[in-house]
Amino acid sequence: MLEQLPALILLAPLFGALLIGLVGLHDRRACFPIAFASLVVSLASALGAAMRAFTGGAYNYFIGGWEEPLGISIVLRVDALNGLLLIAIAVVAVLAVIFTIRPSSEKDTDKTAYFYILFLLLCVGLFGITITGDAFNLFVLIEVSALTSYGLVAIGTSRRCKMAAFHYLLMGTVGASFYLLGVGYLYLKTGSLNIEDINTILTTNATVAQSPGIVTAFLLILVGIWIKMAFFPLYGWLPNAYSYCPSGSSCLLAPLMTKVSVYVMIRVMLSLFGLEWVFGHPGWSDLVVWLAVIAILAGSIMALAQREIKRMLCYLIVAEIGYMVGGAWLNDPNLWGLTGASYHILADALMTLCLFLFAGILFKYHGISEIGDLGGLFKKMPLTSIGFVIGALAMIGVPPTSGFFSKFYLIRGGIEGGHPEYVGALLISSLVNAVLFFRIFEIAYFGKNPADGHSHDHGHDSHGHDDHGEAASPVLREAPTYALIPLLAAAALILLLGIFNGQIIELIRTAFGNSAIVVSNLR
């Protein structure tokens, strides 16, 4: 049974969605248990499949049993890098589904069935993208996850989410079509659709590798994926899409969609074209790193200008994408940039989940979306604030959290790769993050407008501090437990990911190790 796990990761949420399709319309309460059960099964099988990859190295799973000439049927490939990402997706999905429990008193629950079906199908798409070894199959799965995310964005009741979903649809489809065109060019020049097969063809004969068709294929695929991950010049759709969609779906979309697209870019660079081919073209790496620098700075500065929490987090996502793309393209001698970028995919998924859960709790239970009316948060909602503080410190990059270590590896890659502008951008962006989040800490700690002039003069008769500044903001009381569990679990995972990043880094580097180029020494 053990070797069937890679397929089981996908099938569990698929069958869950279909079951809800059958039974969910007339029995709303059954939706959540089915969804939760299927995601837990896929988490377990993701762990099993990943463990096998960690211990025994990368392995293939041939769909339909066609093995002899590679590439005639679709292959699922699990190695250390996407094993880790599978676990991360499963964990984020389980935590996000717990957050979507709605109190039975909630009134408009007639769309819950559709919501959970789209939720599970999105997980199927994401698992599929991570695990597939076939270029065209990747396009189909990108479309599955794209369509479901358009539905999840547009399911909301806010008046602006439909327009945001429309723009998201246009940009997403253009991106996916560019990717499809790129795969077409590749197929025309190499005659194969399997990632490994194309790689062997490209590495064996150089005439094909240097031909303009392959270069255009790479450009098309890259631009397509950049649109999907909202890399700087093409990020127009992200802030509206993720800030106007309902909080339940934003907790699944924000942490995963863009990070999986970054993983696809790394998979394309690493296994499809091979790093020597990509970095063989002089000047590309510097150009992309400069684009990433602009992305980081622009994302951070625009985040400063926002008043709403979710929009600020969206611009932070744009900046984080700049980290990862820049890190992947550093072309530093022993690949620390790429390691940092892959580690940052995991770290950033959890950080974004933690912060979006916090924003979701505030919006769902108190209707707060502005930074301004967070007065007295620390006192009224202590547990939620703890989760938020850990997530914020991770985003800033304070040591024990995983955010610090991903920045550490990225900066190291930047120094060794000779890109001081990238290092500078990282530091400036962490400073801006510090200002961003301490602005919120201040308001949450001090209350909206602290009593001015409580100086030391009248020291003798001190008065209680509870009344000042809190009357204006809406009454805050602690979030219900099933909203707190995912938040605190995410915060704990951020810390754990930080403390035990040594093993994870070694796993990631083994994934690079047996890729095309040999990593000199595992430090």
Binding site: F166, L169, T173, V174, A176, L181
Partner: protein, 153 residues
């Protein structure tokens, strides 16, 4: 100009056509003001890609990729059992497979067409809800109304 047409465009005639078609789609996707026209641009954009894929697998003088054996159902099982492969009508040169067009692009394009339909369906539904909400489908009016909505919200 003519010899340019003859030796650069003619051999890749289909590929030039698909690039032009795609650019028309991309242009209207971005420039058009009405949402429905944008969607039409998207449809043209996707059909250009389908044209590219299909013209990939074309072989001169090849028939459709269905092995046309003329045996009736009666001897269908008999044929299958004793002599292994179908007797492929050999084409003029090269190996017998050249008689049949390359099936792979057609398979891929079945998927791409279905994906295109699905995306258009969702886009239409979105347009319908946008029209119900703001009762206009012109992009600039919509943005103005959303901005107005934003200020008073």
């Amino acid at each position: 100009m003519v010899e340019f047409l003859l030796n650069t465009v003619k051999p890749h005639f289909n590929f030039w056509v698909y690039v032009i078609l795609m650019m028309i789609g991309l242009w209207s996707l971005i420039a058009k003001n009405n949402l429905i026209k944008k969607m039409m641009g998207l449809a043209i954009f996707q059909s250009a890609i389908i044209l590219f894929y299909v013209s990939l697998g074309v072989k001169d003088g090849a028939t459709i990729p269905v092995l046309d054996y003329h045996g009736e159902h009666a001897d269908h099982n008999a044929a299958a059992k004793d002599e292994p492969a179908m007797t492929l009508p050999t084409s003029s040169a090269g190996n017998p497979a050249d008689a049949y067009a390359n099936p792979v692009p057609h398979v891929l394009m079945l998927t791409a067409i279905v994906v295109g339909v699905a995306t258009l369906g969702v886009a239409l539904a979105l347009c319908e809800m946008i029209f119900k909400e703001f009762d206009t489908l012109e992009e600039d009016e919509l943005l103005r109304k959303i901005k107005a909505l934003h200020d008073d919200a």
